[in-house]
Amino acid sequence: MALLKIENLHATVDGQEILKGIDLVIEPGEVHAIMGPNGSGKSTLSYVLAGRDGYEVTGGQVLYDGQDLLALKPEERARAGIFLAFQYPVEIPGVTTMTFLRTALNAVRKGSGLDELDAMQFLKLVRAKARALGIDEEMLKRAVNTGFSGGEKKRGEVLQMALLEPRLMVLDETDSGLDIDALKVVAGGVEALRSPERGMLVITHYQRILQYLVPDHVHVLSGGRIVRSGGRELADELERTGYAAFREQAA
């Protein structure tokens, strides 16, 4: 059974149709990349998958593991194994990253019938994962994303992902804002999560991250539709030609 099956998905934001009929199937073990011009609807698709309020689905369906994903609340989706790494991670003053991570991990564990981790177990786990991603422990004592640099925020997203061990990962421009070395570390961290049961949807503007995180399929999203799909070589082609051809196609 497909891990994710999107069929003829239409969605509006503030009454304006942004997604205009998307079809996409991700099998377990696959990595898909989505590229496309600014404003083409990539983040909108990621929000619809995560269940954000205000993103209204007006047609089509989304099946996750054969189940109607759109019927679930955001927290239920997260517990079912869906993870969105935000393009713009949200600052939450007053909530330390450590507390946040622990609350999230225990919520997800509880959702899958596992025991909550106690403070010591959690600390050990989070330290190990943070170290692997080159995250300073000091950062975990600060409020969630508050005052973090762009790169720190992105690393933080991947740390959350590594902790929660989701089955379907949607990465919305996780590579943007990372310096060259950080990109390598972060991509490596994501690559480490690749497994035969898991799937990934990697939204990006650059083929660079795809050198570390080699996709099985590449799609071009333009004007709210997938206008072309291909293998990894499509990313290289786009890098050379840009999106001009697809803009016309979408219009």
Binding site: R52, V90, A107, V108
Partner: protein, 438 residues
Amino acid sequence: MTVPAFIERFDAVTPRLAGGGADWLRRMREDGLSRFTRLGLPSRKAEAWKYTDLSALGGIDFALAAIEPDVAPHHLPEIPEFGGLRLVFVNDRFRPELSEVERLPPGVVVADLAGVLAGEGDFLADWLPRLAPPESHALAALNTAFLGDGLVVRLSRGVRLDRPIHLVSVGTARERPLAFHPRHLVLLEDGAAATLVETHVGQGDVSYFSNGVLEIGLGAGAELRHYKIQDEAPTAFHVATTALRMDDHARYEGFILHLGGRTVRNEVHAVIAGRGGEMALNGVTLADAERHVDNTVCVEHLAPGGRSRLLFKTVLGERARGVFQGRVLVDRAAQKTDAYQLSGALLLSPGAEMDGKPELEIYADDVKCGHGAAVGELDDQALFYLRSRGIDERAARRVLMEAFIGEALERVSLESVRERLAIMAGRRLESMGEGEER
């Protein structure tokens, strides 16, 4: 209860109140009564009472609790423990059997006002009138007329008391509405230091009216930490007026947590009379249903080099109303004053409302003064972010609310109290979360 009804009662009851027939006290009471008669119950026409309406008081026939019989222990709500010394007042009557005031070190008076008045209470003749809240305060005048029992603390020069002093006020009205007018006095002489925890708990199918006055005098270099928890019965009127006066380099750290009450007015008048006085007063208000909670604070900087900080956080659900009025006055002599006040409110539902305004009156030219006020709702983006990580909506809301009030709570310098307050606030937030989810 109308003004004439209070007056009518005066002659009959005052001989039976604390201090009995002492001349100075009788004159003080009479003065209070005549001021109250002149001023009447506060009206919303008065600027200071623009947002808080006490007219409902006029329609309730309160019996004076001080002359009612004792309430049996098994009728009392649970009394919180903080360790240290403890004085329990039930409807403003001192209850020694529930209290713990043994083994006081030398130079320390911690006792009930009526007891002190019955013994060597003459020093009170100097202090009670001297520290009192402004003349024009009608409810403080009413308190003076009918003042019942209360807490008296006096620390001699240089005495530092480690154990916290816990003042517990229990309000309970079973058959008919009751009013009580507690009067507390805390005097720390030069260099003395103490911690005062003040809790108000209550129960009652009928309403009670707690109209307290607390006078605090801090000598040069004296330090007081003062933590108050207001968790009155849902039908209760809680009016509390604190008058604080600080000499050179005295320090005051106050915190007020509002959890209960029907109509609440917590008013603080601080006078920084000596050089380099430092005061901080912070608070958290959590209110739902139809509760009304008003924090009114006035800080007067009269001497150079003083510092004041006010931070009040308010979370309102359902149809609750919150008020924060912060007034800072800087006298011409008070150069190098550093004063800042901030009020933040979170409205959980469209029926909730926050009012108030900051007021700065500055007559000195070399000062640093500022204020801020913000009213908002829970951040949708933050809520979604938390939920997208598996945290359910209710828990996510609570995380954000706790973060919001945390900023004020973390200013409580005594860790054990800070933790207790956080637990109490957390419990209250839990119950407020119900019915607010969309």
